[in-house]
Structures are given as structure tokens and as C-alpha cells.
């Protein structure tokens, strides 16, 4: 993972979470993971293609996802319904968009795919040939892991 890519994601995740949830956000230690990564329960995936290619995964437990969606909507949600899913999608969009803007300013050019949401138990994700950077963000509702696996086209 190029050093230049790391900060935009860390910063934008911090800023966006803090802004939309209006709560204390703290960042855990960053670390690297190779190939397959277990998914906590709800994962929003955004793909990248261009000078830089790969994907970004926003991963959290179902419980955290419902709570986050409740706060963002300003109403108590009971389950992970369409509204909750749409809200998590939007969160992923906001964080990615802000990070990507920063990367564009640094001169990297690429396109994004719309986020897709995956839910279920015992899932894992594998990205061949790219190691993933894990940015754990801790919020009062649980943990959101941002899993970034991108690299420049060789």
C-alpha cells in the first residue's frame, strides 16, 4: 500500500464519522493483512479502477450498522431494512468520496463503482495479490473497519 494512499482514507473516515454521527471517534492501530479477511456482518464495498485499482470495504457488525443507521436517520430502526442498508451505503459513499477527492488533488486519476452492500454470517473477502490495510475506527456504537486494498497499475 503506497504511503500516499493511507492518510486520505484515515482522515476522511475520521472526519465523516465524526460529522454524521456527532460523537467521539477514535482510530485504532493500522495494520496490514494478507489475502483473506473475515467480514464482521455488514460490508459495503466500493471498487476503484484507473491509475489506481482495487477496492475499499467498510465492515461492521449488524448491530453497529443498525445503530449507525438509526443515528443518521434520526429515528430508531429495529432491523437492517432497506432504509438502514441505504444509509450504510451512503456512509461508505461519503467516506470514499472525500478520500478520493484528496487523492485526485495529489494527481491520481481513477473511477469509482457505486457501493454494494453484503450481509450475512461467516463471510470472508479475498483480494488476490493485494494486501489490505485495515483502519479500525472505534465509535460508541461499536467498531467500523475500513479495509483498503488498492495499488497502482503496474
Amino acid at each position: 500500500m503506497r504511503v500516499e494512499y493511507i492518510n486520505p482514507f484515515v482522515e476522511s473516515a475520521y472526519n465523516v464519522l465524526k460529522e454524521v454521527l456527532n460523537c467521539q471517534v477514535s482510530r485504532g492501530e493500522l495494520y496490514l493483512k494478507s489475502t483473506s479477511t473475515p467480514v464482521l456482518g455488514v460490508a459495503a464495498l466500493v471498487g476503484l479502477a484507473g491509475d489506481v485499482e482495487g477496492r475499499i470495504l467498510f465492515d461492521m457488525s449488524k448491530d453497529t450498522a443498525i445503530k449507525v443507521a438509526s443515528v443518521m436517520n434520526g429515528e430508531e430502526l429495529k432491523e437492517l431494512d432497506d432504509l438502514a442498508k441505504a444509509t450504510i451505503t451512503e456512509l461508505a459513499n461519503m467516506i470514499t468520496a472525500q478520500a478520493v477527492t484528496k487523492l485526485h488533488d495529489l494527481g491520481f486519476k481513477f473511477d469509482l463503482t457505486p457501493p454494494a452492500i453484503f450481509t450475512g454470517d461467516n463471510m470472508e473477502v479475498t483480494t488476490a495479490e493485494v494486501e489490505a490495510l485495515i483502519v479500525p475506527m472505534v465509535i460508541p456504537y461499536g467498531k467500523v473497519e475500513i479495509n483498503v486494498a488498492i495499488r497502482e497499475r503496474l
Binding site: M1, V3, E4, S34, A128, V130, E131
Partner: protein, 444 residues
């Protein structure tokens, strides 16, 4: 799912009391230099207070004297002096001790204080770990936890038994003793060799534990030399051979590290690098620099390459798994007053220090990366990995060296740390010079 979990919890609870009832090993516990130890109660004849022993001249310092135990004369060993632990002087002159019944004779030992007798399950005893520090691991038969305290169980037969006579108890002393007696014939010199071996093994273990430095054919030559040197150094200072802390491990490794891994290369050092890359040719060059740290080495190499091949297309992949170091690399500021001449064209003076121009920076990809994960780099002309391989586990060392071989172009060059060499030398041609340990890929 939840049912099974409850069930296992229940089973554990049922098991617990049963476990505590089983006590097939009893030991007398005592303290030495603030740590807790135990001795098998079967070896302990009695607990005693020694007050007046008779000093015997010409004995090692740990022999405090002989003692009259109801008519039987026994020798008294001070375990604290024996293990080089601090000795508290007692005002009344009364020492706590144990009288041990060994296979052949009875012996008294002095300890700081006697604690109690505890019964444990012998299955709970775990093998000793090499870094228990104060006491050489071979005198410890195991470790056990009882009521939250860890007890090291001393093997008294090994300590005082027939094999290891009292004359030669501590490995270091034994070593010095046997070294002094070298010209004499018989068993002694042979023993000194084996003792040296265990000491070396011990150092291997501690280097692994404290610094994750793994001794393998990659760095064995250096270790052998360093061990002799270390023995001389420590002997002169009257210190123990063993490594007991991270600081001491650092001290041991001091001569291992290569020069200028974390600094800009000075001109004369750069000269000998240029000698190495003399034979490289072509128009497209790729360089891989795993373990680049803050990037000083990377910038030096990149500048040297650019000077030598001004028209070439050059790309450098520099990686480190230390996030803090690698994060500072892309915007590294130099504080050097006299920059080496080869680097001057690529520097620009800023407010905070001397920066690197984009002409140089644009050639380098700094990546936060773990070399044990998939390495996505093209075929390389040069791989610069100084003092990196030795800090991987033996299996990973072999794997990474194999990968270096695969990733090099024919005639590509691998530079390892000054005290490192590849495991399979047949695959490489040594082209080292005075400042670099370098190898060319052997394609035959």
C-alpha cells in the same frame, strides 16, 4: 449453538474442583533474590536455620562452610552467590536454609526465606522457557503456577548431583575453569566445547526472544565470530555471558548492523556502490528496497542510479512494515550540513530543512508493506535488503531469499546486510566489496 457453549462452560466448571484435588507433586517453596522457587519435597530432608558454620579456606565463594548437623558434617552452599544474585546481610547471622538429601550425600543450601509447602498436579508443570533470566535454564526442571505465583522448580540433582560436581557449578565459571586448564589432558577441554555450545544456543534463543533475530546460515558466520568476541569482552568486564535484557541483546547485535542503513550515504561509501552496479546495462531499471525505513538509503540509491544512467527509465519500490518510518519517507527532510555531492542536484532548501526534489521522488514508490505478504514488484535489476532477512523466522528467511532470486533479472544484483549471505550459495556469485555484501544471480 448457544446450547453447546453453555455445555462446555458447565463441563469446565465440573472439571475444575477435580483438578485441584489431584496433588501428586509437593514442593518446598522459597525465595531467592525476590523470585519464587520450589524444590521437590522428596529431596528435602529438613528446613533449617544455620547460625554457625565453619569457614573452609580455598573453596569457591558460594561454599559458605561446613556445618555440624547433629554429628554429621555437611557443606553449606549459598544459592544466592551460586546464581550471582544479591545477598542480603543478616544482622543476627542466622540464615534460612534447606537440607537436601541427594542420591549420594546430604548438602545444605542457604536461601533468602522459606515460604511454605505446596501441593500441585504434576501435569501443571510446564517446561522452562529460556529467558528465565537469573538462573541458567538447565538447572530448572519446570515452571508451575500456584495461587497466582509462578514457581521455578530447581533440579537439585543437576545442580549438586554426581554429573556436575560442586567444583564446577556455573557454566561461566566452568568455562573459565576449563579454559584455564586447557593444556591438561583428558575430559576438560572437550567439556569446554560443549559448554560453549550451550552458551551459544542460549544466546541464539535470547536474540530470538528479545530482537526476533534468527540465527541461520544467513548470519551464522557472524555469530561465531561475535560470540568469541563477546566472551572476551564480558570476561574482561567480569560479567555473565548470558543476554538478560533487550539492551544487552542490542549490545550483542551492535556489530551486526550494516553502515548507513538509516542515513544518507557519504560520497566514499557511494563510490563502492557504483562499483557494484558498474556492469548493469539497459534502459529500464527496477530497484526493490524492502525494509527501507525512513528512506535515506532509498534516496541515496536512486540518486546514484540517476547520475550513472541519466537517460534511463528508473523505478524504485521501497517498502517497510513500520508505519511510522515509512510515513515520513515521502516527505523526508535532511538536516545534513555537508550533503554528499551526488545528492546535491536533487535537493532543495526549505524552511524546515533540506527537501528532496520531485525529480528524484517521482521515481520512488514508498509502500507500507509486509514482505511476507504477496510482493507485487516487477523483475528487478537490484534488490537492496540490508539487515532484513536475519529478523525473519528461518522458514521465512528461506522463502524471502527464494523470492529475491525469482524476482531478479538475469545478472541482477542482491545486496544483503554486511554480515549476511544467501543460504543457497550455489545460486549466487559473490561480488562483495569492502562496504557491501553483494551477490549476482547465477543463472547456470
Amino acid at each position: 449453538m448457544s446450547n453447546t457453549i453453555e455445555k462446555t462452560v458447565l463441563m469446565d466448571q465440573e472439571k475444575l474442583p477435580v483438578k485441584q484435588i489431584k496433588q501428586d507433586f509437593k514442593m518446598v517453596t522459597f525465595s531467592l533474590g525476590g523470585k519464587d522457587y520450589g524444590i521437590d519435597i522428596m529431596k528435602v530432608k529438613e528446613i533449617a536455620k544455620f547460625s554457625q558454620f565453619t569457614y573452609v579456606p580455598n573453596t569457591p565463594p558460594f561454599v559458605r562452610g561446613v556445618y555440624n548437623l547433629r554429628g554429621e558434617i555437611i557443606s553449606i552452599i549459598d544459592l544466592r552467590i551460586f546464581f550471582h544474585l544479591p545477598v542480603e546481610k543478616r544482622k543476627d547471622g542466622v540464615e534460612n536454609g534447606l537440607i537436601l538429601r541427594l542420591e549420594d550425600y546430604i548438602i545444605g543450601v542457604i536461601v533468602d526465606s522459606i515460604d511454605k509447602v505446596v501441593g500441585i498436579d504434576s501435569e501443571d508443570i510446564q517446561p522452562p522457557h529460556p529467558i528465565f533470566g537469573d538462573i541458567n535454564v538447565k538447572y530448572i526442571s519446570g515452571v508451575v503456577e500456584y495461587n497466582g505465583t509462578l514457581y521455578l522448580i530447581l533440579d537439585v540433582e543437576k545442580l549438586f548431583g554426581k554429573e556436575q560436581t560442586v567444583q564446577k557449578p556455573h557454566p561461566l565459571e566452568a568455562l573459565e575453569l576449563s579454559l584455564a586448564e586447557k593444556p591438561s589432558i583428558g575430559v576438560t577441554p572437550k567439556e569446554s566445547v560443549t559448554v560453549g555450545h550451550t552458551e551459544k544456543d542460549f544466546i541464539r534463543e535470547t536474540l530470538k526472544t528479545f530482537k526476533s533475530f534468527h540465527v541461520t546460515p544467513v548470519n551464522e558466520k557472524w555469530l561465531d565470530e561475535r560470540f568469541e568476541q563477546w566472551r572476551a569482552e564480558r570476561g574482561k568486564q567480569g560479567r555473565d555471558l548470558q543476554i538478560k535484557s533487550v539492551d544487552e541483546a542490542d549490545e550483542f547485535l551492535r556489530t551486526f548492523y550494516s553502515s548507513y542503513t538509516d542515513a544518507v550515504w557519504p560520497d566514499e561509501f557511494a563510490e563502492s556502490f557504483l562499483e557494484l552496479i558498474q556492469e548493469l546495462s539497459g534502459r529500464v531499471f527496477s530497484v526493490w528496497n524492502p525494509g527501507c525505513g525512513k528512506g535515506y538509503e532509498t534516496y541515496s540509491v536512486t540518486a546514484l542510479f540517476l547520475n550513472k544512467f541519466p537517460d534511463a527509465v528508473l523505478k524504485v519500490w521501497a517498502m517497510d512494515n513500520d508505519l511510522l518510518s515509512i510515513s515520513t519517507a515521502p516527505n523526508l527532510l535532511l538536516q545534513l550540513e555537508n550533503l554528499p555531492t551526488y545528492l546535491l542536484p536533487y535537493t532543495v532548501k526549505g524552511k524546515q530543512g533540506i527537501g528532496i526534489t520531485s525529480q528524484l521522488k517521482d521515481r520512488i514508490f514508498f509502500e507500507y508493506h509486509d514482505i511476507l505478504h504477496v510482493n507485487v514488484v516487477p523483475e528487478c535489476d537490484l534488490i537492496l535488503a540490508r539487515d532484513l532477512v536475519s529478523f525473519l523466522s528461518p522458514a521465512d528467511q528461506a522463502k524471502v531469499l527464494e523470492e529475491f532470486y525469482d524476482k531478479l533479472k538475469p545478472n541482477g544484483i542482491l545486496i544483503l546486510g554486511n554480515n549476511e549471505e544467501p543460504i543457497e550459495m550455489a545460486k549466487w556469485v559473490r561480488i562483495s566489496n569492502k562496504n557491501f555484501s553483494a551477490y549476482r544471480k547465477n543463472i547456470e
